[in-house]
Symmetry: D2
């Protein structure tokens, strides 16, 4: 894969994430995406849980996700993101590729806003997410 | 609520669906939406699980969801859908409203296709979903 | 069913709770049980989430669950509990029966303790759980 | 940790696995345990999903789990198992330890049986699970 991502992690399907169709249930991809974002935040020296304790919540405002190739039991995958800022929104451009045949599994755009003490507001330390 | 839906169910938040921010985790709304669709399918005399056994899978191709007001522990909500067909896609227009203050919690557009014996194909009995 | 329970709710299987074996995944029964306990607590005028905000957590210390008949897509079920107190533990005796053939699906014993401001302690209002 | 396990994997808490108490929800430990078992099965050259397709299901019959120390956001943990056979049951003795302070998080005994074409039966290739 020659894709350029700001951040990448490798994960594998866990069987309980598959539904009776034998494929990963559509909701579980949002879990994969959230986990990728939180790992990226952690790599930048921040922590989603600690931020929450300090009154700062990164809240998802919109998700647009296209399902391309379903992941199945035993599949491993690469979850990559690029991040941009549009006004007060942090926009995470996600892609998941299956390891092996490098097929695109999902492509998603996740828009998040920061809520500081209950109000929509900028939280400058999050700007670290924008720097490589 | 004076909204007109093809189908409506009432549900309530279960505490395990809330995450450490105390609000329903973004992925769980996709569970609510899927359950609403499957209940609607059941009301039309079809069953998602039985269709799967006969080789017909209704597969989600794209979801566009806007998160408006977060649901919390003890909240009850109304989940409604309208259905249209665009080409071979069944498009489910979802809205979730909180019971009590009638606030819009999420609005989502879910595009599904039918896969018959592994191939994208129309499955005529599903047309029942389009009739009131 | 002539069983005597302190509290009973009726629920139905949601398809996303089934795994690739086509049966409800073993972990999801713990969700059903937790939801039953929290509904019972609510009926007694308490709320798990509000208790948490006041520094009182009902924490599960041990679960012993026997899986008897698997629930499947489209199944409805009765989830009942009886409650006893053993020392500082609240013990929830759970059973789940399938609606229709009344088959026992699971039987479980769940031991909970109350943690008050971070310490194991009795929280007298919870005694309401013991009274019919 | 000087514990001797037949199999060990390291995992980390994902934030969506935590509930409104800020700790991993009790049901999610069963997911950790199942994933550990399925990884062990895979290491032995078998696959839970492929076995299912061939008509062989490893089904959980009983779980006895003691919750000792709650895992939280950002925690990493070691999940280890030892396996014994008692009659037709495969018994998985699980322990999860937190990385760092090596605290025991949960101890569990999971009893599984093999169902071959719908009937309780021995499936000899599974004996590989008993050999180191």
């Amino acid at each position: 894969m020659e894709k350029n991502f700001d951040f990448v992690i490798q994960m594998q399907v866990r069987d309980y994430e598959c539904d009776l169709e034998g494929i990963v249930n559509n909701a579980n991809y949002l879990h994969y995406l959230e986990h990728t974002r939180h790992e990226y935040i952690k790599q930048k020296g921040l922590s989603f849980a600690r931020l929450h304790e300090e009154g700062i919540d990164l809240v998802v405002a919109r998700i647009n996700i296209a399902y391309k190739t379903p992941l199945r039991s035993d599949d491993e995958f690469i979850s990559g993101i690029n991040i941009t800022k549009e006004g007060m929104k942090y926009v995470f451009h996600h892609e998941i590729y299956r390891v092996g045949d490098e097929k695109l599994c999902i492509r998603a755009k996740v828009e998040s806003v920061s809520i500081v003490n209950g109000k929509l507001a900028d939280y400058p330390p999050l700007e670290a997410l924008l720097k490589n």
